[in-house]
Amino acid sequence: MNSAVEQQIRILGHKDFKSDYKPVWCAGCGDFGVLNALTKAMAALELSPENVAMIAGIGCSSRIPAYTTVYGFHGVHGRALPLAAGLAVSRPDLTVIATGGDGDGFSIGGNHFLHACRRNVNMTYLVMDNSVYGMTKGQASPTTECDWTGSKLSPQGTHQPPLQPLELALAARAPFIARAFSNSPNELARIMTEAIAFEGFAFVQILSPCITFRPEQLGWKKRVHDGFEPTDDRAAAFAALAEDEGFTTGILYRAPRPRFAPDRREPVDIGAIEKRFEVRS
């Protein structure tokens, strides 16, 4: 499809990837940092906006596509990954970046996350994790601590341990797994750059504080530290996670494997296919 479109060599700065829409985000929301780092990563990779598609679900974080100048699809809640897979499989010429929040990705979208890890379509998945449903005004998400009583929907806490996105991704066979922090712009941009450049499904959990419903997350700054060293050994990665309390950043695991490519066959034209229906005697 795109082969016909003439490509111009342009050197774009990161501001060229930022749209003039004012984000709906609260002042101080971690997602601003994600937007900044992402535009830097796209500029660093010398991408052209028309060849990038950002696919999101629903949530504060999922609003991000419209704040960039690339193609975007702000779908329904929890379905960013299948939208992105359909696009990436049918348009391998594009750079496809799926994105959203922890509710979108791990609660309603959890099944697609599992299967996207296995399927290994060539795309990037950036989850802005604030351990809360920001958009709906502060309910517990799968990554919320079990003793958080700040939500009216679970006033005595969630009664369950938080989901571990990295461990799940590893168990589900994702070939690229990383964690970053919205407040560490350089590392974040670097990890995003590597994730986007990776051939296959690259997952990055981005700790991105919700200052409105989880103001205590401002304290994350003190807890976050780098530490993961990329490995291609699953056992080593599990071991690293056993030590982790959720605030270690870096690329945890990187082990390229053949990316998903659907069946291929000798091309024929429709007429030849139709002939097969003819009655033979």
Partner: protein, 583 residues
């Protein structure tokens, strides 16, 4: 054709084979259909099976004819029971009478009451015992040989068909099968058959052997579909399988998704990227897709869903047909979300209507639902090749001049030019939120209404042409139906005409948007109307009422699946209407 002088020759014949799953009645039925096709006949085979995964009761019902037929007759000329295992489950579909011949294995249980009471002529053939006469022979091949002989199918066509079907299975199996055919023929030798098919004059028209599900797959690729994501579900899986085999040959691809939420969203993703996309499912899967269909409406992403209907609600009757997904197809979205809903009304029309659906979805940037059903989808028929149409995926795209491009521009014809990833200057973010022309989200009622008006306009202004319905006949007596019940309705109308009644038939292909003007016009001369549908609730009738004024003298023949609606039932319904009139 072989000669069998003691029975009457005919240009048309109905027969059925029953037996438990292992007996292979479906293969036998298909062999007979394909052989008859090779002998220049038209024909149809429908399947009825019980709930057992494998080895349960099964029936293959065939009608062979010199003229195109796509619906079963009211009765059977011939019924062959390899065994009687739970065959009574199909009693209301296997109607025999004193003109019918019933062949059964005396070793396989008592002949059921509905047969003995029917007055049908009964003949015993020990299928099971016969298998012992040739090592490797199978009862179903013996039955094929017997039936072929009884109804006068050309031996060489049958042999060639069996060879073709077993092509990949090796010489030994073929040899055993041919021996089985011969055993069957011998067993038939001293039997008086039912009618015998007369030899067809040559040359004959070309014909296709195809199922409705294959036809829907073909229609999709004819329309330009190059992507499919799907999750298996009876009775739609064969569409998915056909596309899995053929899309890669056409440079397209198929993804087996983790569920229907994924499959429909994958299709939207592909279509957003410019690749015409389809998915196939049945009721339960369709239910899971309605959220994404609403997104397709709001974000104006073309996509086609083929819903091969089965008995509902819920899991219902997965293997049997019903026309009860009309409500959800038309109304299954929150918010005001008119969408395209189409229905094929014959196996061949599964090609045409699916192709049209792709064309319309793409032209109107809208989701389109194709309501097929198990009766059409899983039936195999020898039919005239569906006409070729120049309906292709032709999306209105943004031009090169994308300065100030607005994805949802308030276009006069309601269709806003679409930019595709890869087009510089067209970058926008598609969204399920209400939005401005620019695609920017908006909570304003004015912006909301502008887009709702625009989307209504695109349906209102489009010229759908005359394909919205098949209309035939005139007079004050009409039948109005849709989808697969069109097949018995056509035949009922023909019978009424044979009896001298002036009668018209309307089969609506484009259910939504309904062309109320044209429909009202078509019914102008109508004073007595019979609405025919296979649903318990009369969904079609209620839907019609919500849009047009129906004649005061309107009757409804509505029956849930899988209860048969035969041509005879419709004739009875029409007779009531005309009698009432006389009274």
């Amino acid at each position: 054709m072989s000669e069998n002088p003691d029975n009457q020759s005919t240009s048309e014949l109905s027969l059925a084979l029953v037996g438990s799953g292992g007996a292979g009645v479906m293969t036998a039925g298909q062999t007979l259909l394909d052989a008859a096709a090779a002998s220049d006949y038209y024909g149809l085979m429908t399947r009825a099976t019980g709930p057992q995964i494998r080895g349960g009761e099964a029936a293959a019902i065939l009608r062979l004819s010199a003229r195109p037929v796509e619906c079963q007759d009211d009765r059977l000329d011939l019924l062959v029971a390899i065994d009687w295992n739970k065959a009574e489950r199909f009693a209301d579909e296997l109607i025999v009478d004193d003109n019918s011949l019933v062949v059964a294995d005396p070793g396989q249980g008592e002949v059921p009451a509905w047969i003995t009471d029917s007055g049908a002529r009964l003949v015993e053939v020990p299928f099971d015992a016969l298998t012992r006469e040739f090592r490797g022979a199978r009862t179903n091949t013996i039955a094929v040989g017997l039936v072929a002989q009884l109804i006068g199918l050309e031996g060489r066509d049958v042999d060639a068909t069996v060879r073709r079907i077993l092509e990949s299975k090796g010489a030994k199996l073929i040899e055993a099968a041919l021996a089985g055919l011969e055993l069957g023929r011998t067993a038939a030798a001293d039997l008086a058959g039912p009618k015998r098919l007369e030899r067809r004059p040559e040359p004959v028209e070309p014909r296709w052997l195809i199922t409705g599900n294959e036809a829907a797959g073909l229609g999709a690729v004819r329309g330009g579909v190059r992507f499919c994501a799907a999750y298996p579900i009876t009775p739609s899986t064969e569409i998915q399988e056909w596309l899995a085999a053929h899309l890669p040959e056409l440079g397209g691809s198929l993804v087996q998704a983790e569920d229907e939420l994924a499959s429909i969203n994958m299709c939207l993703g592909a279509s957003f990227g410019g690749t015409p996309a389809i998915t196939a499912t049945s009721g339960p899967g369709f239910s899971l897709m309605v959220e994404a269909l609403g997104l397709a409406t709001q974000a104006e992403i073309p996509v086609v869903v083929v819903d091969v209907m089965r008995g509902g609600p819920s899991t219902g009757i997965p293997t049997r047909s019903e026309q009860s997904d009309l409500d959800i197809a038309v109304h299954g979205a929150h918010g005001d979300a008119p969408r395209l809903v189409l229905a094929p009304n014959s196996i061949g029309d599964c090609v045409t209507t699916t192709q049209w659906a792709v064309h319309l979805a793409e032209a109107l940037q809208s989701p389109a639902v194709v309501l097929s059903d198990q009766r059409l989808g899983q039936a195999r028929a020898a039919i005239a090749p569906p006409p070729s149409r120049d309906w292709h995926a032709q999306r209105k795209l943004a031009g090169n001049d994308t300065a100030d491009y607005r994805r949802f521009t308030d276009a006069e014809d309601g269709v806003s030019p679409m930019a595709l990833p890869g087009m510089p200057g067209g970058e926008y973010t598609a969204t399920g939120l209400s939005h401005m022309e620019s695609a920017r989200p908006s909570a304003s009622g004015m912006d909301h209404r502008r887009q709702l008006d625009k989307r209504r306009r695109k349906f209102a202004q489009f010229d759908f042409g005359k394909h919205w319905a098949d209309i035939d006949g005139d007079g004050d007596l009409w039948v109005l139906t849709w989808g697969s019940t069109t097949l018995p309705a056509r035949e009922a109308v023909a019978r009424m005409r044979d009896r001298g009644h002036a009668i018209g038939l309307i089969s609506i292909r484009l259910l939504s948007p309904l062309d109320t003007e044209a429909l009202t016009e078509a019914l102008r001369s109508c004073r007595r109307l019979l609405v025919v549908e296979q649903s318990h609730g009369g969904q079609f009738h209620r839907y019609l009422r919500s849009h047009i004024e129906l004649p005061a003298d309107t009757h409804l023949l509505a029956r849930p699946g899988p209860l048969n609606i035969t041509p005879g039932d419709i004739v009875s319904g029409l007779e009531e209407l005309t009698l009432e009139d006389a009274a």
